[in-house]
């Protein structure tokens, strides 16, 4: 629902990461990590990105999204499990006291620049 705002932040983050001597060079690809417990829908993000990238150095950039699974550690038995769907319970003991280890990521990991 707020994917456009997030896309604008992503584009700003990417632009700020390009060193001054390389400003103006087109970005070929943008790599993101998005956790599955993040309130971001990759399809909506792509849709918004295709609109927002126009007239920026990311105009020709492809968006590569690596989805990060929800991994949780059980505080009772220590088991680590990947959670595909609710409920959030331990796959070994069935307990519900879990620490979420991953799944909330929303990270620009790297950019690939075109050859100057």
């Amino acid at each position: 629902m707020h994917e456009m705002g997030i896309v604008l932040q992503i584009i700003e983050t990417a632009r700020a990461a390009i060193p001054p001597q390389l400003q103006g060079i087109q970005v070929k690809a943008l790599n993101l990590r998005i956790g599955k417990l993040t309130a971001v829908v990759p399809e909506s993000l792509r849709f918004c990105f295709n609109i927002a990238r126009q007239d920026t150095v990311l105009a020709g950039a492809s968006l590569r999204i690596e989805e990060v699974p929800i991994e949780a550690a059980c505080r009772d038995c220590g088991e680590r499990s990947i959670i595909e769907t609710p409920p959030f319970t331990c796959s070994r003991c069935g307990g519900g006291d879990l620490a979420i280890l991953s799944g909330r990521e929303l990270i620009v990991t790297s950019l690939e620049l075109a050859d100057p």
Partner: protein
Amino acid sequence: MEIKVVRKVLAVNEQMAAQNRQLFAEKGVFTLNLMSSPGSGKTMLLEKTLGRLLPRVPTGVIVGDICTTNDAVRLARSGAPVVQINTDAFGGDCHLAAHVVREAAEDLDLAAIDLLIIENVGNLVCPAEFDIGEDLRGVVLSVTEGEDKPLKYPLMFRVCNFALLNKIDLLPHLQFDKERAIANIRAINPGLPIFEISAQTEEGFAPWLAWLEERVREKQQTNRQPEETGNGR
């Protein structure tokens, strides 16, 4: 050529939220971020809550909506200072971001309040993602909604510190399976305190307000301690 970035997209919001948290701590203000879907009864809940907390617990309110100042007008009748945020001025956002809360907080006399309640935009998706510098996050689920809301919006029910099950006065007229709704909340967040209330009749208000006041007092005590040891009072 590859450029490593590894930067959180919401880093700017997180920094702003940290600054808000520091400001609220300096002013000794306990901050509650109240979230729910539209129509769950947040505003009436706040009207009744303010009626019972004031003047004992000086409370201010920031209320977020995409449009209209209707909620602020309703809440101001309680006598509490109220600041309305209309997010259409900020691009019609579906949530309150930390910088927007900051601007609104600057219109309040923070020194004069102990509790700041922020009524977020009615939405179970986006507000869950945005830290605004609050001490406590609460979600309101009303019994006129589906019992499976917690399963449909797991992030919201996971990030919150308590849940209010509102409109329980309507239960005799509905097919709502309260035990299933509570089980669904617990499936997402097992230890979550759940308070069953009716904003209409104020049934169930005493336990949840007592719990909230205790959180407010806890923060005041942790805030005062260093000051007391520092100046020998």
